[in-house]
């Protein structure tokens, strides 16, 4: 895999190039601080002695992690959330990518109108979608509510994101590359796999990530479409009468650490695999 930084680019081209690069680095750092500051507070609160997560910190304790392990309702909610998020991500990415191909490469009579149609679910307030699905499932479709209906409801708002992101990227893929590959003897499958797929991979990945992000903390649609189950957001947001305890902070901290670890390890493994000698992969940067 060719190194990302082209030697052409390290050649100074303008007086300001260095300064620009440094300010960008600074900006990136500042953004990371901005994003993680509340996270740090959230983690700190999970060790706070007081029942109410917030300042001031009255004392340090591991009590909340302790009771968390016995709280099967909360743990069940977390399990449901993760399951739903994974299924939604996989389905939304698959369905959205397929639809994007058809949308961009022909087969739809009115592509512009369809594109706008896909923007509509993002446009309607989630509350309205949630209520409409509850009425629809319960009265029109006569379907019992369950995690399945939650997944269906979340797909309504995640598939459009995937379609639009992937379509936007797919738009810019030069068909001539595939035709050239065909001329050189590649089968359609090989052309797609080695040319188009790597080119749109970032968009597919972005779509998957957005789907997980939208799903895992999704409350509004989930609340209306869930049956006799709970997810982590429904557990947390409904504690109106008496509030949350730092147990939820503890759960969130564990999930955060687990996710970061997983990505860190996965990235290390993939990195190592890539450095192994073998057939040179990767797209021709067109």
């Amino acid at each position: 895999m060719p190194s990302r930084v082209d030697p052409l680019e390290t050649m100074p081209v303008s007086r300001y190039a260095g300064a620009v690069r440094w300010s960008l680095r600074l900006w990136f750092g500042a953004l990371m601080v901005f994003l993680y500051l509340p996270i740090m507070f959230m983690v700190v609160f999970s060790f706070d002695e007081s029942r109410t997560p917030g300042l001031p910190i009255t004392g340090f304790t591991l009590h909340w992690y302790d009771v968390l392990l016995d709280n099967r309702v909360l743990l069940g909610a977390v399990g449901n959330s993760i399951t739903v998020a994974v299924v939604v991500a996989i389905l939304a990415t698959a369905i959205g990518t397929m639809a994007a191909f058809v949308l961009v490469r022909g087969g739809i009579r009115y592509p512009n109108a369809t594109r706008i149609a896909f923007t509509l679910p993002i446009m309607v307030p989630g509350v309205l979608i949630g209520v409409s699905l509850l009425i629809y499932f319960a009265r029109a479709a006569d379907l019992p509510l369950s995690l399945g209906t939650v997944i269906a409801g979340q797909l309504v708002v995640t598939v459009p994101f995937v379609v639009l992101i992937v379509a936007s990227r797919l738009q810019g893929v030069d068909r001539a590359l595939e035709w050239a590959a065909a001329d050189l003897g590649a089968s359609p499958r090989q052309a797609i796999r080695h040319i188009v797929l790597p080119l749109i991979a970032p968009a597919i990945l972005a779509g998957a990530l957005i789907s997980v992000t939208l799903s895992i903390d999704e409350f509004v649609i989930t609340w209306f479409t869930v049956g006799a189950q709970s997810t982590l957001p429904t557990y947390i947001y409904t504690r109106i009468k008496f509030g949350v305890t730092p147990e939820v902070n503890a759960v969130a901290t564990i999930m955060l650490v687990a996710t970061l670890l997983t990505f860190g390890i996965a990235s290390l493994i993939l990195g190592r695999a890539r450095r192994l000698p073998g057939r040179r992969r990767g797209p021709v940067r067109a």
Binding site: R4, V5, L8, E9, S14, A17, L24, F28, L31, L35, L37, P38, I39, F41, M42, F45, P53, G54, L55, M98, A99, V102, F118, P121, I122, M123, P125, I129, V131, S132, L133, Y136, A140, G153, L155, V156, V159, S168, R169, Q171, D174, A176, A180, A182, D183, P202, I210, T213, D217, L232, P233, I236, V244, V248, A252, M255, L256, L260, F263, A286
Partner: protein
């Protein structure tokens, strides 16, 4: 991005000409799941809600088929709805602009100066906080921005202010900050996906040919990532119109946005009234999209092969 190909594959190679409907169905097949979701889980339920919005709620909190335009009339009779909608749109526009600026710098940095592997990791690290409960993160923001919170302590320690400021939270400033916080990662993801595909050597080439950096930027980079910018705008601005949790938690009593007014109805099982407000919001957004449709056409920039 059109390339001039001399000879060779300037035209699509002949495909097998298969007959009529069967071939068309096979063409459309991959689109069907998405189409079914859109029609069956979105349009049909909403059509039901549209009908409900013309009905009324009786005392048993049942929706009864008493046709009336009252719910919609209320939207206009009561000036608060239009005012709040306008305020929400302004807030949305401001947040979108801030997100674009902030996210663009980050996406540019990651796309140009960072190897792809680390860039992807960085994006993951940016997204991961959003897999924790939003409520908990907003509690943290309250602790940071509050009167006796971290920000005030720092500002006072630096001597910039002499007493704690109540400016940062429980008002529109707080809503703005937290909304930017929530949407910057989305914008960054979308912009990165777009910038990643851009060949930065074009900028160097342009400068070799005598263009100033800003000119190269404006005439080469921006047009090519326009679809990405437009997508990012849509992904930030439109969901903000449906945001009610952020304003209710950090917006203060004066900071209600249109979705709060909507949620107030649904929390009390007043479905027709809420549906009317919801459709009015959607109608205004559609109006916006129609008015700005020329800027939204993404195929303009990319030559269809």
């Amino acid at each position: 991005m059109a390339t001039e190909i001399v000879g060779g594959a300037a035209v699509a190679p002949p495909t097998s000409v298969s007959g009529g409907r069967a071939a068309r169905l096979r063409q459309l097949a991959p689109f069907l799941p998405a189409g079914l979701i859109l029609v069956g889980l979105f349009f049909v339920p909403l059509a039901l809600m549209l009908v409900f919005s013309f009905w009324s709620t009786d005392e048993n909190l049942d929706v009864v088929p008493v046709w009336s335009l009252e719910n919609y009339a209320n939207f206009f009779d009561n000036p608060t709805y239009v005012r709040t909608l306008a305020k929400t749109m302004i807030m949305g526009a401001g947040v979108t602009l801030a997100c674009l600026v902030g996210a663009f710098a980050v996406a540019y940095f990651l796309a140009r100066y960072v190897s792809r592997r680390w860039a992807r990791l960085a994006l993951l690290v940016i997204i991961v906080p959003f897999w924790t409960s939003y409520l908990l993160r907003v509690y943290s923001w309250q602790a940071i921005l509050g009167e006796h919170g971290a920000l005030n302590e720092v500002l006072m320690a630096l001597g910039l202010i002499s007493e704690p400021s109540r400016l940062f939270v429980y008002n529109d400033v707080g809503t703005f900050i937290v909304l930017v916080y929530v949407y910057v990662p989305f914008a960054a993801l979308v912009l990165y996906a777009s910038l990643d595909r851009f060949d930065f050597t074009q900028l160097t080439a342009a400068q070799d040919l005598g263009a100033r950096p800003i000119q190269a930027f404006r005439h080469i980079l921006l047009p090519q990532i326009r679809p990405g910018i437009i997508t990012a705008c849509i992904f930030v601005f439109i969901p903000i119109l449906g945001e009610f949790l952020t304003p209710s938690m950090v917006g203060g009593a004066q900071g209600l946005l249109i979705a709060n007014l909507l949620a107030n109805f649904f929390k009390n099982a007043l479905i027709p009234e809420g549906a009317a407000v919801g459709f009015m919001i959607a109608a205004f957004v559609i109006l916006l999209l129609v008015v700005f449709r020329r800027y939204l056409r993404v195929e303009d920039v990319v030559a269809r092969a």
